[in-house]
């Protein structure tokens, strides 16, 4: 009874609260004189539907910050909240797209896209249909059964984007996912991501 009430109130609050809030979060690797401060205290908020970019020279802590939001790392100081709750570990609702595509080479493009759905327990027929649709949307119709090694760098990155979109995450975190593809492919994929973001109103950050 109370639980239902609380949940209703929480969803009302969620409308007003930022989706991601990072409060004075910091991360240091190692200890003592050889400790490396990977990320100094940093604070920001991202609201639902926003496209949020983090810019800085390499080594400034961008990847560490994304790891904190994705849940691969915990902050030493401060807090990272997503949807009002502290981040305790990785969660498919806030997915991190890596610099390397990390496709599984023994799986076809379609089976790679299905991975997250498999882990979520989606039935086979639904998985297959969703993966096919997403590959089609990403301009990879006809490549469903191709292995990653048979695809170009840009196509592989599209498969990994489709794989992320398949689980319909609330937040898509991108750690220079287009860093490894050529300049023209990068421009085109950036456009496509913007289109996807506008259509789905997914908050993103990279």
């Amino acid at each position: 009874m109370d639980g239902v009430n609380l949940r209703a109130r929480a969803s009302l609050l969620a409308e007003a609260l930022p989706l991601i809030s990072v409060e004075e979060a910091a991360r240091t690797f190692g200890a003592g004189p050889r400790a490396i401060e990977a990320l100094g205290p940093v604070s920001f908020e991202v609201r639902s539907g926003e496209f949020f970019c983090i810019v800085g020279p390499s080594g400034c802590g961008k990847s560490t910050l994304l790891d904190l939001v994705a849940g691969f790392e915990r902050p030493d100081a401060g807090r990272v909240l997503v949807g009002g709750r502290p981040v305790l570990g990785p969660d498919p609702r806030r997915l991190l797209l890596f610099q390397e595509h990390a496709l599984l080479p023994w799986r076809s493009a379609r089976a790679n896209v299905e991975l997250g759905l498999e882990l979520a327990g989606v039935p086979r027929a639904d998985r297959r249909e969703r993966a096919r649709g997403l590959l089609h949307e990403m301009g990879l119709a006809g490549f469903e059964n191709a292995r990653p090694r048979e695809l170009s760098g840009g196509m592989r990155q599209r498969v990994s984007i489709a794989r992320a979109l398949a689980v319909d995450p609330d937040v898509l975190l991108m750690d220079e996912p287009l860093g490894a593809v050529d300049a023209l492919t990068r421009l085109r994929l950036q456009d496509e991501l913007l289109t996807l973001q506008r259509r789905g109103a997914r908050p993103s950050s990279w």
Binding site: P90, L96, L104, W106, G116, L119, R147
Partner: protein, 260 residues
Amino acid sequence: MSGLKSSRSEGAARRFLLRIAGIALFLAAWQAATSFELLGPVFGPAFGPGAGGRALLAMARSGVLFEQTEASLGRFGLGLLLAVVIGGPLGFIVGYFRSLEELTTVVFQILRMTSPLALVPIALIAFGVGSRPVVFLIAYAAVWPVVLSTAHGVSRVSPAWKRMVRGFGARDGSVLRKVIVPAALPELVQGIRLAVGVGWIVLVPAEMLGVDSGLGYQILDSRDRFAYDELVATILVIGLLGLALDLVLRRLKELVSWTA
């Protein structure tokens, strides 16, 4: 394109012919050596491939050949199965935990290099006379390549893949099923292939110890009966079956391979 294709099939045909020619040359040299007693009067025509081939047909007709082969393949299969059932999971555990790999590596290398035949007295004391010590010796020989190859495969699984599936919410069990097992499968099969090689070699001497069936027994038995043509026939069977087993495993490895 058709030119390329035909030259490729030409290459395959050429390779096939060369292989057949290699076998023919070997048989001819062997036959000549025994017919002309080039290795001394002891090694007469009875030791040649012609006599061996005829004995092989006779043994096939009488059914002896299949009885002995069945006995040997049964022991070999059981030993190999034990090696895979024990060595596979052990390899996964050892490869997964780095400290366990360090803990076991030297001991496993020593055990691997200890000839199973050195363990014959211990095997006989532990398992008595019969098929069981033979199966033990094959399993002992075969388990190390399976463990070491699988562990190597598991330890080389890309951390990026594990991180990626964890990002999709996978727990340890799912990481194992979705990433580690399929990624290490080719090296497991490679380990089994090596195990088949070493196990098949150990089988024959192991069957010379207190069993009264099998290809190893057949070797000693034909010697004792001065049936040298049957001895040669049994040697041929051992070699040909070994080749067939290796071909099967090579095919299996191609099926599970995701690199090449």
